[in-house]
Symmetry: C2
């Protein structure tokens, strides 16, 4: 009876602004949402989302990624799939 749902999709490892953007885009399209729809649902501007998915290289993101790198910590994103 398959204890684990076993959806078997591998997590996204986040180590650059770009990889973060790609992950977001992946999950958004997989959810069948447009940038407009997602932006409205979370109260953001669409152009912001576009830039984020394109891997906008902000200093904020760089800062936290630098911290994680220095500490030897890896960040991953994956489907919560309850």
């Amino acid at each position: 009876m398959h204890t684990s749902g076993h959806s078997s999709e591998q997590p996204f490892r986040i180590y650059t602004p770009s990889s973060f953007g790609q992950a977001i885009r992946h999950y958004r399209t997989q959810a069948g949402l447009t940038q407009d729809e997602l932006a409205e649902r979370v109260g953001l501007d669409r152009t912001y989302l576009s830039r984020l998915e394109s891997g906008a290289d902000t200093q904020q993101l760089r800062r936290i990624l630098a911290i994680l790198r220095e500490l030897g910590v890896k960040a991953t994103l994956e489907r919560a799939d309850w």
Copy 2:
């Protein structure tokens, strides 16, 4: 021959600015670093790190977490332990 290092420390699930801060603090102290040391290594201000670890509730973090929540994606931090 122990294929996997099997260090078996459970990952941190990140769902609030606070949980993010706690994770950072955990890994920093585990690495035996002071805020000063870490801040200098990554070229940041110490007070910034302090506030980050205290779970500073920034809009930026909120935005990202809102996106992930809406997409049903979970973010985790764990030791890279190569």
